[in-house]
C-alpha cells in the first residue's frame, strides 16, 4: 500500500511546530519523543506502521480548535484518532502529520431521560456511554464488537454498526447533534436534542466521513430504554444455502430479531476448538436473538422455530437460562480471537443483498481454494454485512500480498452482486484503492467537492478513503 512521501518542509519545521503546539496546549498534552509517538504508529490495521511527527491529546474543544488553527496556518496535516481501533487504518499516521487523539475528552456533559438523549465528549468509549445510563434502565444502541475500547469519535467517523443494528440502526440513526471543529479551527454546532435539521443534513454527511471533514469533539446521542430481556436461539443447518433461505424467511415473515448472526463451517470449528461453546458440527450456524418480556420472547421464538423447522435444521437450541445464552454467544463473540489463535487473519467487511448470500459464499470458497488460503465466514446475516476472515501467515514471504489480493477480489465480488466494499468498518487506507470499483469518477468527484468545502487545503486525514491519484492535485495545492 502506498502513502504519499512525507513533506520535507514540514519534517524540517518539526522543532518549531512542537514549540508552537506547546504554546497552545498544556505540557502533558504534546508528545514528541519518538519513543512515545511510536505508540501511535498504527491502529487495529497493524500490518502498516508509521510514527507521526507529534501526538497531541487535548482536553477541550477550545484546545482542539487551537491545534487545528495552528496546523492549518503552518500547512501541517492532522490525523484524528479516537481509540485507535480502526480495522481500516482510519487513524494510520504519516511521518509528517500530527495525530490528534481525543481519548482524554471522555466526560458526560448532560443526561436527559425526559428528552431521551445523552451529550458526551467523543473520547468516551461506546460501552461507557451505556455505562453512564444503564443503572437507570437505558442504553446506547450501536454496539460494534470493539465497544469496550472504541471511542464515540471513531464511531461517528466510521458510522459504526454492530450485531444489534438490525433493529436499532447504525450510528447515523442514533446521532442527534455534534460539535465539530473544522481544520481552520472554527467550531460549528450542528443539530441538537431535536429530531431534524432545519436546512441541509450536514450531520448526515459528517457521520461516516472518516475524520476528513472535521474533528467531532462533543455529541448528542439518542438513548433508548433497555428492553426487559433478550434470548438467543442457535440453529445448525446442513448447507449455507439452507441457512440463507431461513434468514430470508424470518425477515419476510415480519419478525424483527435484534440480531441474526451467521457462521460457516471453518468458523464454527475454529470457535469450537477455541471457546468450547458446544456448537454442533455442521455446515452453517445461525444465532437469532429476540427481545422483550418473557412472554413476548416465547411468542417470537415460537414463530421463528416454525420457520426454522421447515428448513430441517440439524440442531435447534433455545436458550433456557442466562448461562445458556452466554454460551450461545460465547463462540460468536470469540470468533476473531479464535481465528487469531490459529493464524494471522484479515477481516473483510463487504455488504451484499441477502438474496446473494449462497452464491457469494460458494464463490468465496472457490476463490480461496484457488489461491490456497482458508477463509472463515462470520457475519450479520440479517443485513447482508459479511465478515470473511482470510487466514494467512505473516512470517511467510508473499502471504500477506496473496491475502490482500484475495481480499480485493472478494470485495469486488460484493460490488458485482449489487453490494458495497464496506458495511461498517470504513474505507480508511485499506480499501482506498478499490473505490473506483464501486464509484465512477463523477461519483468520487462529488464526494471530493464535499471535502473541499470543509477542508479546502486537504490537511485533515488527506491520504485516506480516495485513491491517491484521484486526490493528488488537491493534496498538492
Amino acid at each position: 500500500m502506498d502513502m504519499p512521501l512525507p513533506d520535507q518542509r514540514i519534517l524540517n519545521a518539526r522543532d518549531g511546530l512542537i514549540a508552537r503546539l506547546r504554546g497552545v496546549l498544556p505540557a502533558d498534552a504534546v508528545i514528541a519523543d519518538p519513543a512515545e509517538t511510536r505508540a501511535y504508529e498504527c491502529d487495529a490495521l497493524a500490518a502498516y506502521r508509521c510514527a507521526p511527527l507529534a501526538v497531541v491529546l487535548p482536553r477541550t474543544t477550545a484546545e482542539v480548535s487551537a491545534v487545528l488553527r495552528l496546523c492549518s496556518q503552518m500547512g501541517v496535516k492532522v490525523v484524528p484518532r479516537g481509540a485507535g481501533t480502526s480495522l481500516a487504518g482510519g487513524s494510520f499516521p504519516t511521518a509528517d502529520c500530527v495525530v490528534l487523539g481525543v481519548a482524554r475528552m471522555n466526560a458526560v456533559i448532560e443526561t436527559d431521560y425526559d428528552n431521551r438523549f445523552i451529550r458526551v465528549q467523543t473520547g468516551r468509549t461506546n460501552l461507557a456511554v451505556t455505562g453512564a445510563v444503564e443503572a437507570d434502565g437505558w442504553f446506547y444502541a450501536p454496539d460494534p464488537s470493539s465497544q469496550l475500547a472504541c471511542a464515540i469519535a471513531g464511531n461517528i467517523a466510521m458510522n459504526s454498526g454492530g450485531a444489534h443494528c438490525l433493529k436499532y440502526g447504525v450510528t447515523t440513526n442514533n446521532l442527534l447533534g455534534v460539535t465539530i471543529v473544522l481544520m481552520s479551527g472554527e467550531v460549528v454546532e450542528i443539530g441538537g436534542p431535536w429530531s431534524d435539521a432545519p436546512g441541509l443534513d450536514l450531520l448526515g454527511v459528517i457521520c461516516g466521513s472518516e475524520g476528513q471533514l472535521g474533528i467531532v469533539t462533543e455529541a448528542y446521542l439518542r438513548i433508548l430504554p433497555k428492553p426487559e430481556g433478550a434470548r438467543p436461539v442457535l440453529m445448525g443447518f446442513a448447507a449455507n444455502e439452507v441457512a440463507g433461505a431461513c434468514v430470508a424467511d424470518i425477515i419476510r415473515a415480519g419478525l424483527l430479531p435484534v440480531a441474526i448472526e451467521f457462521m460457516d463451517r471453518p468458523c464454527i470449528r475454529a470457535c469450537e476448538d477455541f471457546a468450547k461453546a458446544g456448537y454442533p458440527d455442521c455446515e452453517a450456524l445461525l444465532i437469532v436473538e429476540v427481545e422483550g418480556s418473557p412472554a413476548e420472547i416465547d411468542a417470537q421464538l415460537a414463530r421463528i422455530k416454525d420457520i426454522a423447522l421447515r428448513h430441517n435444521p440439524v440442531a435447534y437450541r433455545e436458550s433456557g437460562s442466562e448461562e445458556e445464552s452466554r454460551k450461545i454467544w460465547l463462540g460468536r463473540k470469540s470468533a476473531f480471537g479464535a481465528m487469531g489463535n490459529i493464524a494471522d487473519y484479515m477481516c473483510l467487511d463487504g455488504t451484499i443483498p441477502v438474496s446473494e448470500l449462497p452464491y457469494v459464499l460458494r464463490r468465496i470458497a472457490e476463490m480461496s481454494a484457488a489461491v490456497g488460503l482458508s477463509v472463515a465466514n462470520v457475519f450479520h446475516a440479517g443485513d447482508g454485512n459479511m465478515h470473511p476472515l482470510i487466514l494467512y501467515n505473516a512470517n511467510k514471504p508473499g502471504d500477506l500480498e496473496l491475502c490482500e489480493a484475495l481480499g480485493a477480489d472478494i470485495l469486488k465480488l460484493c460490488v458485482e452482486v449489487g453490494g458495497c466494499l464496506t458495511g461498517e468498518h470504513g474505507v480508511g487506507v485499506e480499501k482506498r484503492d478499490l473505490m473506483p470499483v464501486q464509484f465512477n469518477p463523477a461519483d468520487l468527484e462529488a464526494q471530493l467537492r464535499v471535502k473541499d468545502v470543509f477542508d479546502p487545503d486537504w490537511l485533515l486525514n488527506p491520504a485516506k478513503v480516495f485513491p491517491l491519484d484521484v486526490t493528488a492535485s488537491r493534496r498538492a495545492s
Binding site: 441538537g192 431535536w194 457521520c207 424467511d249 462529488a446
Partner: protein, 365 residues
C-alpha cells in the same frame, strides 16, 4: 405567457436539460409537499417513473424518483410491507393538488408519527442517484442495508429540497407490516398529556406513536398480537388513568397530515420534547391550534391574524431548543435562519453542487 415545462423521460435527457439550462429551474415531483417553489422554468420528474427492483425477502425497493408514492404503497401492501417512516400527505394542509412522488418524499425528508421509533425518510433511504447543477449524474449508496463506503451523500440529498441536485432514483429499505396495532387514548390537559407521552417513550414498551391533540393524548403500539396485548397492559399500568383502546389508523393519519389545521399560517416546529409546551405558550392571546407529535418533539401550529405569521413569537420561543419552518403562509422566511457557521457550510455545498445557482434557487435561504 405560460412557461415552458421540462419533462425529461430519462436521466440522460434530464442531464442534457440541466447542462443546457441558462436560467433557474423549478423542480417538481408532484408538487404536493415542498415548502416553496423555486423560480424559473418548471421541471417535472414524473417521466422518471417505475419500480426497477423489489425484493420482498431482502426488504429492498429501488424506483425512479417520479414514481407515485401511492403506486409504491400499493405494491408493498400486496406483500404486506411498507415504508416505515409514514410520509405525510400534505395536500390538504398546503392547499396543493397533484401526485406525491418518491423523489419529493426524499427531497423533503418526509416523516410521520412513527419517527419516534423508526426514523425519517433519511433513515430508510439506502441509495440515491441524482443530476447535479452541472448536469452530471452522481450516485451514492446502493441497494444494501449497511454501507459506509465513501461520504454519505444519500443523507445529504435527503431533505435538500432540490437545491443540490435533481434526484432521479431512490432505494429504500422496507418494513413488514406488523400483524396488530392498537391505539390508546385518554383525555387529559396538555401539560399532563405531554408528560404521559414522554413517560411512555421512556418505557421499554416500544411505542410507535405518541401524540397530543383535540383527541387528547394518544399512544400507538404495533407488533405481534401477543406482544401488543402485553405492552398495552403494561403501559396502562405504568401510566395510570383511563385509557380507551381503538383500532385503525385514522387518528395517526390525521396527526401525520396535520389535519384540521386549515386556517391561517401553518408551522412545523421541531424541538426538544420538554420545550413543546413553552413554544405554544408563547402564543397566548393569539388565535391558534396545535397538534403535538413525537411526544412533543414535533408541533404543527396554525396561527391566525399575525402579520409575520407568528414568526417572532414562535421562532423566539424555539430559539436554542429547536427550529420552526413556515409551511403555509407569508410574512416570514420559510426556513429558520441558520447560525453563521452552518449557513456558510450549506452555502458552500450548494455552490459546489450547483455552481450556476439554478436548482430551486433561494428556497432554503
Amino acid at each position: 405567457m405560460t412557461p415552458l415545462v421540462l419533462q425529461p423521460q430519462s436521466e440522460a435527457e434530464l442531464g442534457e436539460m440541466i447542462r443546457a439550462a441558462e436560467g433557474p429551474v423549478s423542480l417538481r415531483g408532484g408538487g404536493t409537499r415542498g415548502v416553496a417553489y423555486g423560480p424559473g422554468t418548471v421541471l417535472e420528474t414524473a417521466g422518471l417513473s417505475g419500480i426497477s427492483l423489489y425484493e420482498p425477502g431482502a426488504l429492498t425497493l429501488v424506483a425512479g424518483a417520479g414514481t407515485p408514492l401511492a403506486e409504491v404503497e400499493a405494491v408493498l401492501s400486496a406483500q404486506n410491507q411498507r415504508l416505515a417512516f409514514e410520509a405525510p400527505d400534505l395536500r390538504r394542509a398546503l392547499q396543493r393538488h397533484g401526485v406525491s412522488t418518491l423523489g419529493g418524499v426524499v427531497a423533503t425528508n418526509a416523516s410521520g408519527p412513527r419517527r419516534v421509533q423508526a426514523g425519517a425518510a433519511r433513515d430508510h433511504l439506502i441509495g440515491v442517484r441524482f443530476v447535479d447543477g452541472m448536469g452530471t449524474v452522481v450516485k451514492s449508496g446502493g441497494r444494501v442495508m449497511k454501507n459506509v463506503t465513501g461520504l454519505d451523500l444519500v443523507k445529504l440529498m435527503a431533505g435538500s429540497h432540490g437545491t443540490l441536485g435533481v434526484i432521479t432514483q431512490v432505494a429504500f429499505k422496507l418494513q413488514a407490516v406488523p400483524e396488530c396495532a392498537v391505539t390508546l387514548q385518554t383525555q387529559v390537559p396538555l401539560s399532563a398529556g405531554l408528560a404521559l407521552l414522554r413517560r411512555a417513550l421512556g418505557s421499554p414498551f416500544e411505542v410507535s406513536g405518541a401524540a397530543y391533540g383535540p383527541f387528547g393524548a394518544a399512544l400507538r403500539v404495533e407488533g405481534m398480537e401477543a406482544s401488543v396485548r402485553y405492552r398495552v397492559a403494561s403501559l396502562k399500568a405504568l401510566l395510570g388513568g383511563d385509557w380507551v383502546e381503538t383500532a385503525g389508523d385514522a387518528l395517526w393519519v390525521g396527526v401525520r397530515d396535520a389535519q384540521g389545521l386549515n386556517d391561517g399560517a401553518l408551522w412545523r416546529v421541531s424541538c426538544k420534547p420538554t420545550a413543546a409546551e413553552g413554544v405554544v405558550a408563547a402564543l397566548a392571546g393569539v388565535a391558534h391550534q396545535a397538534i403535538f407529535d413525537w411526544g412533543g418533539g414535533l408541533i404543527w401550529i396554525a396561527v391566525q391574524g399575525l402579520g409575520d405569521a407568528g414568526a417572532a413569537l414562535i421562532r423566539g420561543a424555539v430559539a436554542g431548543v429547536g427550529h420552526a419552518t413556515l409551511m403555509r403562509g407569508t410574512g416570514a422566511a420559510a426556513f429558520a435562519p441558520e447560525a453563521a457557521g452552518v449557513a456558510a457550510l450549506s452555502r458552500a455545498l450548494r455552490a459546489q453542487f450547483d455552481p450556476k445557482g439554478i436548482l430551486n434557487a433561494g428556497i432554503m435561504g
